[in-house]
Symmetry: C2
Subunit: 479 residues, 2 copies
């Protein structure tokens, strides 16, 4: 079912008409709208989880957790709106004595206008219709038009119905939220003259195509895409020695979580040769259970991806797990010199329960391979206190937006400081949809010079400043 061009025009026109109302809404009202949306989704969790499980086969436990995460995310953004720093209010008082004399300037951030959001297949709630892109775009004061993912169409429609009703019930304007379906509809959205920005989570090829459309417009718009990530892990010899079995079990749990369909799955793990770590992982993986993959396309691509890796002369299978009525977990082993020589083969992201262990002999060996690792969302370093890891850490920091020193990259805490992004191809931009600063993607600066108080937006008037963190003449002021 593809949304027709006429219908897209109607929906975008309604969003554009609603945009000034969202932009000018005060913090309390906007927070109420976000919380109403969260409440409605929580209230419909039983129904939504049942549909989601049928369409994605991710299982009830995981899906219930994901609903909670999604509504928690909406409420976090309600808090972000209420706290007020996101407006970045900055005041410079007039200075007649300066050369040249300085006018009074009052600056804030305001919503950019209608935002197109592209849902992901692998998080039918948290990165989908009412996921992080939608939450942050609404919080920034913008109507949202979501392109549904074809992997969960019924869930998308039902979630959108609930969202429209919740926003309407809370008093948000008509046109605040809409859903479109079909690839052509998505292409039309990023090219529509009234759409001002887009957020995307998906494949490198799909994201690149939409990024090119957005950038190729007569008036280019920002396109915030989260695409692909291999999420390198380095285990030092000391860490393998001190806690190899524990790390091996953690790795297996992480790379098989959600049947290996997380964008933060540890896809390539550098391990010391001869440390026994490969054998520990193999032992842990023997009992590991895979599961059904999300879509037919992913189901077909998984064995093809494994086969492409296995075709490399350096690669051998270290272990296979249990299929669990779907994809069987696989642990592959290669070596650092092969990865450094053929990164385009060995470091291709493979969606599903597989990880590639890369044996290294020494630091030079692992560094040469790390230099070939593409930009990733995360990088993980398992070391011991005595290790000299400065050079390794420098390489990992260059390649990822989040560096972990304990645990595993799957599981992305939704907090003020979180950052879900990294150099290309992890993302097309500095930010994506997780963490409080995701809101900044959908805001634009606006400065008022020598404005009479009556013509200032409410947030920039003196009486509002008393309640809002802001900067005055270069100094931060807290309420």
């Amino acid at each position: 079912m593809t949304t027709t061009p006429d219908r897209i025009d109607e929906l975008v026109a309604a969003a554009s008409a609603a945009a000034p109302i969202w932009r000018d809404s005060d913090a309390a009202t906007r927070a109420t709208w976000l919380r109403a949306l969260a409440g409605a989704l929580d209230g419909a969790a039983d129904e939504l989880v049942a549909i989601a499980d049928r369409e994605t086969r991710l299982g009830e436990a995981r899906l219930r957790g994901e609903v909670a995460r999604t509504t928690g995310q909406l409420r976090l953004f309600a808090d972000v709106v209420t706290e007020g720093s996101f407006r970045e209010i900055t005041i410079d008082e007039a200075d007649a004595a300066a050369t040249p004399p300085r006018p009074e300037l009052r600056r804030l951030l305001v919503g950019v206008g209608p935002v197109a959001v592209f849902s992901a297949s692998n998080f039918p709630f948290a990165f989908s219709v009412c996921g992080g892109d939608t939450a942050s775009a609404l919080a920034a004061g913008n109507p949202v038009i979501v392109k549904a993912h074809s992997g969960h169409p019924e869930l998308s429609r039902r979630t959108a119905e609930i969202a429209v009703a919740a926003l309407d019930g809370a008093g948000a304007p008509e046109g605040s939220f809409a859903l479109v379906e079909g690839r052509e509809a998505g292409n039309a959205l990023v090219q529509h003259p009234l759409v001002r920005a887009a957020g995307f989570t998906g494949s490198v090829s799909g994201g690149r195509a939409l990024f090119d459309l957005a950038s190729g417009r007569p008036d280019p718009i920002p396109f915030y895409g989260e695409l692909g990530s291999v999420n390198p892990v380095v285990v030092t010899p000391a860490a393998a020695e001190a806690r190899g079995d524990e790390l091996a079990r953690g790795l297996v749990t992480s790379f098989t979580l959600g049947a290996g369909q997380f964008c933060t799955k540890p896809g390539v793990v550098f391990v010391p040769r001869g440390s026994g770590f490969v054998e520990s992982v193999a032992a842990a993986a023997h009992g590991a259970t895979g599961g059904p993959l999300l879509t037919d396309r992913i189901t077909e691509a998984f064995p093809a991806g494994i086969a492409a890796l296995e075709a490399d002369a350096s690669v051998r299978v270290a272990a296979e797990g249990v299929s669990g009525d779907g994809a069987r977990p696989v642990v592959l082993v290669s070596d650092a010199s092969a990865v450094a020589a053929r990164p385009e083969v060995l470091l291709e992201e493979c969606f599903g329960p597989v990880t590639l262990l890369v044996e290294y002999a020494d630091e030079g060996d692992v560094h040469a391979a790390l230099a070939a690792v593409p930009g990733s969302l995360t990088a993980t370093l398992h070391s011991e206190p005595g290790d000299d890891v400065a050079a390794t850490l420098a390489l990992l920091q260059e390649r990822a937006g989040r560096v972990l020193f304990a645990g595993w990259p799957t599981g992305v805490a939704v907090t003020w400081s979180q950052h879900h992004g990294g150099p290309w191809p992890a993302t097309t931009s500095l930010h994506t949809s997780v963490g409080a600063t995701a809101i900044r993607r959908f805001l634009r600066p606006l400065v008022f010079q020598d404005a009479p108080a009556a013509l200032l937006p409410r947030e920039l008037r003196d009486e509002s400043l008393e309640r809002t963190p802001h900067r005055r003449n270069g100094m931060l002021v807290l309420p």
Copy 2:
């Protein structure tokens, strides 16, 4: 003189080698480097102004002022670095009781890596070799490679020599700063694998071409371009009545400043028909002096631009000024319905001392024309306290990044709150090079999860937090 591809490779490789040193430099060191650069330029002002005047003919008074503005800008960014908020340090403490348990996250912004800066013709200091793009990129912790503008090659070379010596003398690493020349060199810069971002001030066509190269890379990089702007002004009937002559004189001073070669020149002014305002402007313009234009290309384009406007049946010449050994100021008059019907003809930016007065009959008339005004850096509203300007202001806010309620848009105060940007074609991005937040363009987020204190960047360690504004568990904390 075009920099060869081999030489570009050398310079970018040196910048890339210097990048980690800049990124990891502490605030005090980085501020010292910026102040050393400012001091060296101030010290060489006599020599530099003489070269600049020969190459640009902008006159000594203007050029001395521009040097002061440029070095003031470098010092402002030293202050921004010292103040520390630009790092956006955010800490979320671990929470073992959360579902799922939350790790400790520590976030900051770090430099993106080597930045390419494209100089403008019209500000040989403030938007050129050591201008706002360079100042903000260095402040963010990045080496810079400048593409010189062909309009002032000798000044560019001498400024770059001084910059390299000043940075070297202050202890900055080799590769911190470099200059390249020639259009092909500029194209090579935005496509170079080791260049991570670009800043540009110039024409719509030139900026678009470079934006397309940056976006079309295998790994797209952000391109922050300031392109073209007509800077609409609206004068209400009450304002024309109350202070028409004063406004007319102010307008003439503004549109002829720097021979009309400012990106913030008021290019289109909506005036009430029959108010006498056109006559007031004509009177003020008769004695106004133009001057030589910056380059042969601009000198040739100016009469062609005027001719294109005059060719429209709605346009007449209201006044001409005195050439001043160069371009003669011109005041043209059209009407709002013609502008609404043919914006592509009447709202084309024309660099040089010309402005278009657009007569309107009523609010509907001016609003229809305003809806056709392209995105601009500024919009100005001259009204009186009794005026109902809500609808007009809403239209202006949609079209510009800075809205003025007194004075004229030329002259851009370099302060914490300033914003120099607007919807396409004013800019390709939300930010450009003026104001403290220009620094954010050249930073990327980096999060450390559960890191041992010894492996954290210095700025994220507990002892540094005591001295730096930061956010902890969602709350802003001041030192």
